[in-house]
């Protein structure tokens, strides 16, 4: 189990602030954040590249905060793999005076690469070798720094399956950092969202997907419909006006300026009004086929995106220019405080209040 306790570090003009994390033994934990958020710095601190004065890092009960990297029992796969160019693949893997293990060689399918030099390997091959090198010393914790960022999308998916296989087969605790939310959601049991050296939210992929705590997290996790609005309490809930004519009803009590958002897959399109809450008339501006889904850009006074399964729209047969009705269930509307610097999630708070 990895515990990061109140870690603070200044590095040039950048700082990691109040990092508190707990990764369970055998858990696949991902830190998701944009470039420059401090993910790699955090990983390198855990691996022992930089010394820490404020905070503690504890791995399986041992305080490793100021241990030499070789004593930490951590395997580290850097973003650029950093295979030593003057050593063969085999020598790279056994650099730390260990025997080559057939299990790991076979698991990562690198037997045929052992005598080659890194300069002759493809990106995917380098990545597998770097993984083998990190795993060979049977680490308690495997740190992966953007392991697929330099790979083609087709190879990425193979790597994801490999990582999943490794985690299950070797039962190793994994701390993975990435800016790719699809990758984080595919692999992780829990995700921490990081921005500007601060962890903004920790939760399961489902929790983060369904309840992003801020506009930033909503955008990072692919929410496309984010609008500025003004909330006015009304009975048990509120109306949020967007522009001059649109009023979205929510079950939350909201007062003042606010961001509201809804996932495209929760934006329902239909031909006629059914006198439900949050039905708006709109016109299709653009249609894009995306795998088994159709993505609609609809003008309802604002441009709203709807994602609909291909199997669900055959009856509608929509075309660009068609007029239709857009419906959003009030429970699918997320709201974030207007000042995104605040990490408070207003919806939760209001829900708590209404429960009390």
């Amino acid at each position: 189990m990895l515990v990061i306790d109140n870690l603070n570090i200044k590095f040039g003009g950048f700082s990691l602030k109040d990092i508190n994390l707990s990764v369970q033994k055998g858990e696949y934990f991902t830190i998701l954040g944009p470039t420059g958020s401090g993910k790699t710095l955090l990983l390198e601190i855990i691996a022992g590249r930089y010394s820490v004065k404020n905070g503690r890092i504890i791995l399986d009960g041992v305080d490793i905060t100021n241990l030499h990297p070789k004593e930490r029992k951590i395997g580290y796969v850097p973003q650029d793999y950093l295979l030593l160019p003057h050593l063969t693949v085999s020598e790279n893997i056994t650099l730390g005076k260990v025997q080559l293990e057939e299990d790991i060689v076979n698991l990562l399918n690198i037997k045929h690469l052992l005598k080659r030099y890194p300069s002759t390997l493809s990106g995917g091959e380098k990545q597998r070798v770097a993984l083998a090198r990190a795993l060979i010393r049977k680490p308690k914790l495997l740190l992966l720094d953007e392991p697929t960022s330099s790979l083609d999308i087709s190879i990425k998916r193979v790597v994801w399956r490999n990582l999943d296989k490794i985690k299950n087969k070797l039962s190793v605790t994994v701390l993975h950092v990435t800016h790719d939310f699809e990758e984080a959601f595919f692999l992780s049991e829990r995700i921490a969202i990081m921005r500007n050296g601060i962890i903004e939210q920790i939760g399961t992929p489902n929790e983060i997907f369904k309840m992003p705590k801020s506009k930033f997290i909503a955008e990072l996790t692919g929410v496309e419909n984010i609008f500025e609005g003004f909330g006015k309490p009304n009975g048990q809930g509120s109306f949020i006006s967007v522009g001059q004519e649109l009023n979205f009803a929510t079950y939350k009590k909201i007062q003042g300026k606010i961001y509201l958002s809804m996932r495209p897959e929760n934006v329902v399109i239909k031909k006629c009004k059914e006198n439900k809450i949050n039905e708006f008339q709109g016109q299709i501006v653009k249609i894009l086929e995306k795998g088994g889904f159709f993505r609609f850009d609809i003008d309802i006074g604002i441009n709203i995106v709807s994602l609909v399964k291909a199997s669900e729209i055959s009856a509608l047969n929509p075309k660009v220019g068609d007029k239709l009705i857009v419906e959003i269930n009030p429970k699918d509307i997320y709201t974030f405080t207007y000042d995104d610097k605040s990490l408070e999630w207003k919806g939760d708070k209001d829900d708590e209040k209404s429960k009390n």
Partner: protein, 259 residues
């Protein structure tokens, strides 16, 4: 062709002609019979053997110092680092005669007396030749190695540590192998300077026939005693050696891989 290109080409041609004129004059003034006779003479054989021996010893000593100094200067930041760097570079900027003179005064004083009591004599001895070469070539070798050390991606070394290597093992297995081309270039440059070293050697070790007679000292002694043929023969030989070293440097630099 642009005007600036034309002017640059003219300057290039002038300089190449000047160098060729100097080299040709040396070759044209040589008498083949005298060259063969000189190459077989005891004095020449001594001076070439002496030059090779002293230069290789000073080179080995300098390599040891240079690697360790370069390691510290490329990796560590400490108070007064800039001053230390400038002191290390002093022999590059100071005329070798002045370097030799300063050590002549140092070893001619109390320190020299103490050392002499311990059986170590720098003044007017082969040890003085080695010392003079060592002082002059070390900053050149150190500079080459420091540049290549600081060019190495520090994260390679960190990877080594995270793989279970100690700091010394990281240095041996990662830093040194990744720097080998730079070290080799430094060695060749240092060796060429050691072979050609004259000013500091003359001041510290003197110009004694068959005792402190390196190849440049042999040229100096030949001219001083009016034996131009001997001086020219050794000059031609040094030219050949320099040319071979130049080819070696070019070969190494061509293969140099930057990590």
């Amino acid at each position: 062709m642009r005007k600036i290109d034309l002017i640059a080409q003219i300057f290039l041609i002038i300089f190449v002609l000047i160098v060729l004129a100097g080299i040709s004059s040396l070759f044209l003034s040589i008498n083949l019979d005298i060259l063969i006779k000189t190459l077989r003479s005891k004095e020449f054989l001594f001076s070439i053997k002496f030059s090779l021996t002293t230069s290789l010893i000073s080179l080995a000593l300098s390599l040891l110092f240079s690697i360790l100094i370069a390691y510290i200067l490329s990796k560590e930041d400490f108070i007064g680092k800039k001053i230390v760097e400038n002191i290390v570079d002093v022999p590059i900027f100071l005329p070798p005669l002045v370097v030799g003179l300063s050590f002549l005064i140092l070893f001619g004083g109390k320190l020299g007396y103490v050392l002499e009591k311990a059986g170590i004599t720098f003044l007017f001895s082969p040890l003085g030749v080695i010392f003079a070469q060592f002082i002059i070539i070390t900053p050149y070798i150190e500079r080459n190695i420091e540049v290549v050390f600081s060019k190495i991606n520090k994260r390679y070394e960190f990877i080594g540590k995270s793989m279970g290597l100690s700091d010394f093992e990281v240095f041996k297995k990662i830093t040194l192998p990744l720097s080998k081309e730079g070290i080799l270039t430094g060695l060749i440059v240092g060796w060429s300077r050691a072979i050609a070293e004259f000013g500091a050697t003359l001041m510290l070790a003197g110009a004694t026939k068959m005792r402190t007679e390196t190849l440049p000292i042999a040229i100096f002694l030949g001219i001083s005693s009016g034996d131009m043929d001997f001086a020219v023969s050794i000059g031609v030989l040094m030219l050949v050696i320099s040319f071979l070293i130049l080819l070696l440097v070019r070969g190494v630099v061509k293969q140099n891989v930057s990590y």
